[in-house]
């Protein structure tokens, strides 16, 4: 059972990376990006196509796929920054459902609806602790989530560009009136989070369900994890992702409840919402 729970850590690391990206997007560019995983999925599929159809080495195909994901994310960011710069978070977030559906449809048209033959970039056990094997994929994704969260925190609190990003996120008009260019900075955030998400997806995809829907819908557990931190706290987003991954792995080991594995992120979201809204609910009940 412990092995099963720890096996879920690889997925948990992926959820955590995506949750960190979602949190970053929410804090800095005022959007819950529903296409966060879809751009990574599409970049990953293009990487698979480049490797299998054109014979590119895995590393080169993967790099190109990740870069494409960054460009796609940047294009969506450019749309948001150009036409929805004054729109509220709900409108900006709703816009990202369009690219999500477009990328899923496009991947069906170009690559079919079957899982893709992702080749492993990283594979094999990393180390064993008390008879429990920790895979390299688990090690890389969990490390990536922690490194990204720490790096983002350092960037935001210790650098001039981080200060500018925080200013833009709090009062975009005031920041612009001080000469801080919001459009290039916000597009840069979209590109960077697109690249990070794609890296995590390309690393984990060979070990997960990797059809277009499954990968694009990783946004659900990622959003659940980000919700633990209220789409504000990066550390709790990482914790949320890892906990969700471990719970999924654990549930999958128990036949009686294994079916709820697919609904676990939704349960997680409902419980978190009930908990965070408890005061309002109790006040209303009184």
């Amino acid at each position: 059972m412990l092995q099963g729970a720890l096996a879920g850590l690889a997925a948990g690391g992926l959820y955590a990376v995506l949750a960190v990206c979602l949190t970053l997007m929410s804090r800095l560019v005022r959007v819950v990006n529903f296409s966060q995983a879809a751009t990574g999925m599409f970049g990953g599929f293009v990487a698979v196509w480049l490797v299998t159809e054109t014979g590119l080495p895995i590393w080169l195909g993967s790099v190109l796929g990740v870069l494409l994901a960054g460009v796609l994310s940047g294009v969506i960011g450019w749309i948001a920054a150009t036409w929805l710069s004054e729109a509220d978070t709900t409108t900006r977030s709703a816009m990202t459902v369009g690219p999500l559906l477009l990328l899923i449809s496009l991947s069906f048209i170009l690559f079919g609806n079957k899982p893709q033959p992702f080749a492993s970039i990283i594979s094999g056990p990393a180390f064993t602790v008390g008879g429990v094997v920790i895979s390299q994929v688990t090690l890389v994704t969990v490390s990536l989530a922690i490194v990204v969260a720490v790096a983002v925190r350092i960037l935001l609190t210790r650098t001039a560009i981080g200060t500018r990003l925080r200013a833009l996120s709090e009062r975009p008009t005031t920041a612009e009136l001080l000469g801080i260019p919001s459009k290039p900075l916000s597009i840069a955030v979209w590109v960077v989070t697109g690249v990070i998400s794609a890296i995590a997806i390309v690393v984990v995809a060979p070990t997960q369900s990797n059809d277009a829907i499954s990968l694009a819908m990783l946004i659900v557990p990622a959003a659940a994890a980000a919700l633990l931190g209220g789409f504000k706290r990066l550390d709790l987003a990482v914790v949320g992702g890892l906990v969700l991954g471990v719970l999924s792995g654990l549930v999958a080991q128990i036949d009686e409840v294994s079916l709820i594995r697919n609904f676990l992120p939704f349960l997680f979201i409902v419980v978190l919402l009930l908990w965070t809204q408890r005061k309002e609910v109790w006040d209303a009940a009184r």
Binding site: R166, E170, T173, A175, L177, L178, S182
Partner: protein, 233 residues
């Protein structure tokens, strides 16, 4: 000394124009008071100049260069700094971080802080924790650190105790003495006119008086007529 020249501009919001046919010249090194009744269009005029709201007619020039089609970021880089209504601090940023957004060097932060000794002991506190007066000091210090050529100030006194506002007002004069052209929108008309060399009264979206501030200070009936839209420039 250069000037910001506003020529026959109109600013529209929603259903129609809220500012129409407004022309004036903002000289560097001078304070111009922009006064008028509530809803006259003072804030819209400032928004049109800084690029917060698009202008639908007219031109805005600095040294003969038209800037009305530039983004608000580009206008800021041309030296126009707009202090919005309310206390426009970035609440989670510390005082130092707020100032670092416009100051190019630590020495410029120090120079801005020199005008506000009250802020020095709170330099690393998030501005959300500061009092209203201190927050407005941060906004003024940040604007000063930006080394503006033209400073547009919208209702600096809003929500501040009069004693705090009186502490800030002389700073505006000092900034102007550094060669900055200041356009001051203020609900305390007599204080604004006391500080300014020039005055502009806007009523119902149009200029109803334009001339020396002293003229309005000394003639209350003229000011009254201008507020009602009836005085000649």
């Amino acid at each position: 000394m250069s000037a910001l020249i506003i020529d026959d501009i109109a600013v529209s919001r929603g259903a129609g124009p809220v500012i129409q046919g407004v022309s004036f010249r903002l000289e560097q090194g001078r304070v111009t008071a922009l006064v008028g009744p509530n809803g006259a269009g003072k804030t819209s005029l400032l928004d049109g100049i800084s690029g917060v709201a698009p202008i639908s007619a007219g031109t805005i020039r600095i040294d003969g260069t038209p800037i009305e089609k530039l983004s608000r970021v580009a206008r800021a880089k041309q030296g126009i700094v707009h202090i919005e209504q309310g206390r426009a601090v970035f609440p989670s940023l510390t005082v130092r971080e707020n100032l670092s957004l416009t100051a190019r060097t630590p020495a410029e932060i120090d120079a801005a802080l020199a005008r506000f000794p009250e802020l020095e002991k709170r330099i690393d506190a998030p501005t959300a924790l500061l009092s209203g007066g201190e927050q407005q000091m941060v906004v003024l210090a940040r604007a000063f650190a930006a080394r503006p050529r033209f400073l547009l100030i919208d209702e600096m006194s809003l929500g501040l105790a009069p004693v705090v506002f009186m502490r800030l007002l002389p700073i505006v004069s000092e900034i102007a003495e550094q060669g900055v052209g200041v356009l001051l929108v203020e609900q305390f008309t007599h204080l604004a006119l006391g500080l300014a060399e020039e005055a502009l009264v806007v009523a119902s979206g149009q200029v109803s008086f334009q001339g020396p501030a002293a003229t309005l200070r000394e003639d209350a009936s003229l000011l009254h007529r201008a507020y009602l839209g009836g005085a000649a420039a």
